[in-house]
Symmetry: C2
Subunit: 523 residues, 2 copies
Amino acid sequence: VRLKLKLDLSKTIGCQCMVSEEFQEVSPADFFWRNRDIAGFTNPARAIYTTIREIVENSMDAAESSGSPPDVYIRLRDLGDFYELLARDNGSGVPANKIPQAFGQILFGSKYKLRQTRGTFGLGGKMAILYGQITANKPVRIISSTGGSKIHDYSLSINIKSNRPKVQKHKVLPNPKRWHGTIIYLNTQGDYTRIQSKILEYLKQTAAITPYADLTFVDPSGRYYRFERKTKELPPPSKEVKPHPAGMDVEAVSRIIASTKTSSMLGFLQKHFQRIGEKTARKFLHHTGIDPRRNPKKLSADEIVKLCTTMNTFKFITPDASCLSPIGEKILTVGITKEYSPEFLTVVQRNASAYSGFPFVVEVAIAYGGALEPSENIPLYRFANKIPLLFDEGSDVARKVVDEKIDWRSYKVQPGSPIAVFVHICSTKIPYKTVGKEMIADRPEVERDMTIALREAGRRLMGFLSKREQTRAKKMRLELFELYLPKIAKFSAQLAHRKKVPDIRPLLKAIASGKSEEPAIMD
Amino acid sequence: VRLKLKLDLSKTIGCQCMVSEEFQEVSPADFFWRNRDIAGFTNPARAIYTTIREIVENSMDAAESSGSPPDVYIRLRDLGDFYELLARDNGSGVPANKIPQAFGQILFGSKYKLRQTRGTFGLGGKMAILYGQITANKPVRIISSTGGSKIHDYSLSINIKSNRPKVQKHKVLPNPKRWHGTIIYLNTQGDYTRIQSKILEYLKQTAAITPYADLTFVDPSGRYYRFERKTKELPPPSKEVKPHPAGMDVEAVSRIIASTKTSSMLGFLQKHFQRIGEKTARKFLHHTGIDPRRNPKKLSADEIVKLCTTMNTFKFITPDASCLSPIGEKILTVGITKEYSPEFLTVVQRNASAYSGFPFVVEVAIAYGGALEPSENIPLYRFANKIPLLFDEGSDVARKVVDEKIDWRSYKVQPGSPIAVFVHICSTKIPYKTVGKEMIADRPEVERDMTIALREAGRRLMGFLSKREQTRAKKMRLELFELYLPKIAKFSAQLAHRKKVPDIRPLLKAIASGKSEEPAIMD
């Protein structure tokens, strides 16, 4: 290399004018302040949408993790130059000593676990606060309690340069009723009017996917939108799980090695990963060529690489899905019926599946008729970890599946039918394409599961449509008989010189019940 | 508020089962390690593409900022389990004491200025190093000099938890020839075969947009791709400029206030912002209702908000575009001709324009015929700050403009024509939709400029196509005369009993030159 290097250098010599570069370190808060567009704060309209969305999602997560059916109240007041957003939830609350950082420090939070939550980046809520700060220049007020004897009331802002909270005020109030939850007062700029319809659509879809939540929104004109709880049943809460080996990389494995107390590879694998028992561990180690008695802390850099690449390709059992909290047929049916009142509704939930070590569950629903409007393109409602996704539908894998993978005509769905498709994916790590969390990447495993689920739902819809068609055909036939049989009876009676026209009612009844033998009658 | 609060609290009481939340701070390196997909490291194929792309772009930026025409050499060697990437440039080099952080700390860099560079987030190069580290588990080797008497040779890795560089080795070598530039040896995993065509396409497009660069790529099979320099002319280098008031927010203004030495608002505005002279400053301050003699450091929080909102809406002169470095007609023509050899090529460069305080310039080119293949959809080559964008074309504003805003038939372009469209936008801040830098958001100002430029180019193409059509028609007419005139001449001679057939050559010549008067001849 040395010799080659020398040779290379001689080729690239010779330049006069130099610009000196200045180097600089920026904090995460600074980075996301400069690049707030990528977190969904593109313009005042989109910013107010993202603010409401992030705060609703944090509230829902907090309530669900505390095991209570969420009660979320959002009020947006117009204060002239900016809005005041009030958000109140009945969540688990934030421990007093964590409040400043949890609300005033980017990349600090409780969302870095292997567990299904709406928030994934630990970023959105704080970006809403940061955006409020750089537009309205007021501290945010947080009132929270975890249900103990005290309620804490903080006013704080974010020091963007250092990414640290600046506490302006801190009061402690008594909590005789052991209330738990969080209340936020946030001043922020935005363009509500331009984005109103999207915000209402977001709330409606949230209500559809979480009918166990009580959601209230008071808009800047004082108008009151209430999405009432329709069931008290919550989906099973998501649990934290051990990582699946298929999702491992050198950093992840090295961290586990650094903290492990096991002294053999055989024990190490069983203790720290899901889906590995002794038998699998032995088979796997034989495959990688690492001695089961080796001390994990003594593996070489290359051995760790070997371990990881084998983990990524070895056939393990599919990841444990108990860390997921799909919505389920029952709750989805309640929610969709409540918000869309279709004539027909079918829900298909797939078994847990996985992409690169992350488990996921796909649930789909097809609704038809009733209050649904006919539409040229099939309306698609997309959800990820119970979040409605309203933007960038064109780049989402679900749209691709609906448009390209499903032959709707083969399920008797004509263009312009009153149909709606709902697709929900839940995972410990949704494969979002962007920090803005609006579109899901087309991972082959996800695409496959969505396709299979929608085909199954399509077949059920076809069953319903066929049956309805049969019923209609039968009804038309009956109407025909009802019209002509009396005439035929009368005519036949005249022809036979009988005074009494025969009673055709038993015959019609037989036809209606489908028991009549047509030839016998028609002859 | 207090009373209301009490009332509200009583409504949301009552829950038994609590899950305690654990809180955690993560470093930026940790964040992007967990979310590497959003930076373009989605899978092994895409990762190797992004790695090469980020490293080429950093090299190009470094060379251009040093004022030399870039010499970039990239070699990818297959080492079995992973690749070794060697990248060498003749850029400005990195000062020795900054090397560890510049390559081993996320969100540390020289890219946080108001100046046009390819890199915008100060993230990509380090993500490539991070990805190499978590897949191949080897330190990265950096050899660099700024052209002084020493060359520094570092081996280092990133401590992801703390986001700090870990230097493994550091050697100092003499630099008798005053070489400047950077050499990187990086081990990384990837799937080259699956993404090869995209990588080659990326290099070809890079060569087309920077014909003043010398670009060499040696692929894992040892194949040598050379994109030779075709001009030594560089676009004018981009300069750092003062910020334009239209892009200001509270944080940005507060930082300037904190560091200013001016003691009056009148001086403050003129000193720290572009496009503000005394007259504009007075008019602006009158408009905001702030006394010109006010000390900026004594403004209240609300006054700062007022200042910002007025800055965002006040009609200032369009931002200074001297911080931009568009490619220009001459260089673009060389580059596109070199790589695509069209029969016709036209380049349109728009004047500088701006969106929310950020200046931008749109350049477009339409190429037609020659080596171009006929194609149903119009092929679009997208560039942003001289970077080719190869992914997610469907969500890019340029695709939207080409497909929806331009009526190609009105410019005589039939479907299936051998055409290609090139769109380049340069800006101090490209409105990317994502950190992956693959699609440009449809800001109305950008969309408008692209549309106008493409229509102008379309008209020129129509001119060319019309002329070509005329030439063809003329040629056909001439061929017709050449065929029949001799016969007519002969026939007429016979009819008139003349022996000598008249010489029709002068007539044909006249027709070819378009000087003949048709009726006179045809009669």
